[in-house]
């Protein structure tokens, strides 16, 4: 090893003398690649020295080699984007070099291949190379016609027909309503042998009330989960007040058994879509804007200054004042009686 060390030191001495004699002028700056080369070499040197010190057990604290390591690392990181930008050119050059080396000792076939590679390296858009969609498709070796693939083919395997979808929805809704109705619940309790719950209430409970209570319980469950309380809005307070008003236990009197089972699917008649069974589907929306859709005949009947005379209004329309042609556009706004 000493012989190697001697050789290295002699060479280095020769080089340093040359540099001092100004044989390698850097007045015009060094090329990027040379600089990178030097930086990497320096980095490796410092690393080796660092490892040597560590291996010998000497302290590394405050030693200039650490600082130089960090500096060189920083430089390398900074020039990395430049590296990326030059990558294309460098690759081109290296590829050309390798192909040139191959050319020297190769046959004609290979020369053609390398020439093709060269053409690809030129890399300007070549419209002659474009394949037309139609020409490629129509010619097939075996003579079978295959249609050209223009658009992606959609797989309609998972499509559910309208009837099936409606049937599914009906099932879901039936299940939901069965769970809510008290008759079915009593049945289930009997079947499963659950203990009887005695809840304190006054008189018979209406369905409205049970639903309201369920909503409150659901809300309470969620609040307990999050350990917070959501404030009651004005509407909710109104509803609470409305529910708490005691009606002497007569709330549930007007409800009958039939009301509960009419919603359950007893006959399988229709495959049509399900509509809402509630009277008040939209809840508290008092003034629901209705879009008036008039078909042509109806329109004609209304707008044509009728020679027939009085039109046929229904009793309700007259009473509620909805018609406009009574007494020359006088609206009976105040008379809105609910029957």
């Amino acid at each position: 090893m000493k012989a190697g060390l001697d050789a290295v030191t002699s060479k280095v001495e020769v080089l340093t003398e040359k540099v001092k004699a100004d044989h390698f002028p850097t007045a015009d700056g060094i090329s990027y690649l040379e600089a990178k080369h030097l930086l990497l070499l320096n980095y490796c040197q410092s690393l080796v020295y660092y490892l040597l010190r560590k291996a010998k057990g000497l302290s590394i604290k405050g030693h200039p080699v650490v600082r130089s390591l960090v500096e060189i690392r920083l430089f390398l990181e900074k020039i990395r984007p430049i590296d990326k930008k030059l990558q294309y050119q460098i690759q081109k050059f290296t590829r050309v070099d390798t192909t040139a080396a191959e050319k020297i000792g190769s046959s004609d076939k290979e020369v053609d291949a390398t020439q093709n590679m060269d053409d690809l390296l030129k890399l300007r858009p070549n419209p002659d190379m474009l394949e037309s969609k139609t020409s490629a498709a129509s010619e097939d070796a075996t003579g079978v016609y295959r249609p050209p693939k223009f658009a992606p083919a959609s797989m309609a395997e998972d499509k559910i027909s309208r009837e099936e979808r409606n049937a599914l929805r009906k099932e879901k809704q039936a299940l939901r309503q069965a769970r809510q109705s008290t008759y079915v619940r009593e049945l289930m309790n009997d079947l499963e042998g659950r203990p009887e719950e005695v809840k304190e209430f006054v008189g018979t409970e209406s369905r409205e009330l049970t639903e309201y209570k369920e909503k409150l319980e659901d809300r309470a469950r969620r609040e307990e989960d999050l350990f917070t309380r959501a404030p009651l809005t004005k509407l909710e307070k109104k509803k609470m007040k409305h529910m708490k008003k005691s009606r002497n236990g007569l709330q549930g009197l007007t409800e009958s058994f039939f009301d509960e089972i009419k919603t359950l699917p007893v006959e399988d008649d229709v495959g049509g879509q399900i509509t809402g069974f509630e009277n008040n589907v939209d809840g508290d929306r008092k003034f629901k804007r209705r879009k008036v859709v008039q078909d042509e005949t109806h329109h004609k009947n209304q707008t044509a200054k009728n020679e027939k005379g009085a039109q046929a209004y229904t009793f309700w329309q007259i009473w509620q004042g909805k018609s406009q042609n009574i007494d020359g556009n006088r609206h009976y706004k105040g008379i809105k009686s609910s029957y």
Binding site: K199, E200, F201, Y212, K213, L216, A220, E224, F227, T228, R229, M243, K244
Partner: protein, 137 residues
């Protein structure tokens, strides 16, 4: 009222080490009464959980269920009163008697603000405003 006993049940018990407290949901059954006072609840919880200082127990957000007889709320038991003072919001400390409510007169504050609107910068010192206030009167 010794006729009907008050029953307390705790649910969702969790020891919150980050805030050095135990938190839970309280179910109170009080048939016949409107609701239970927080002081009685704190006493009961102190006996249930062996808490030395009942000042470190906080109960809040009680809601009575529909129909009466049962209420649900939240409860916290802190490891010590110092922890409670650190983590609890001011209004709850005031309710427990661990803090004082500062009575700020709203009218004075608004007058001061309006006076300060006319000045700019360092001149908004108290002395200046008090003097101006005196002048105005």
């Amino acid at each position: 009222m010794a006729d009907k006993a008050i029953t307390i049940r705790t649910r969702k018990f969790m020891t919150n080490r980050l805030l050095s407290r135990k938190q839970f949901v309280i179910d109170v059954l009080h048939p016949g009464k409107a609701n239970v006072s927080k002081a009685t609840l704190k006493e009961k919880l102190a006996t249930m959980y062996d808490v030395k200082d009942s000042n470190a127990i906080f109960v809040f957000k009680f809601r009575t269920h529909f129909g009466g007889g049962k209420s649900t709320g939240f409860g916290l038991i802190y490891d010590s009163v110092e922890n409670a003072k650190k983590y609890e919001p001011k209004y709850r400390l005031i309710r427990n008697g661990l803090d004082k409510k500062v009575e700020k007169s709203r009218k004075q504050m608004k007058e001061r603000k309006n006076r300060a609107k006319k000045l700019r910068g360092v001149k908004k010192s108290k002395a200046g405003e008090a003097a101006k206030g005196g002048k105005k009167k």
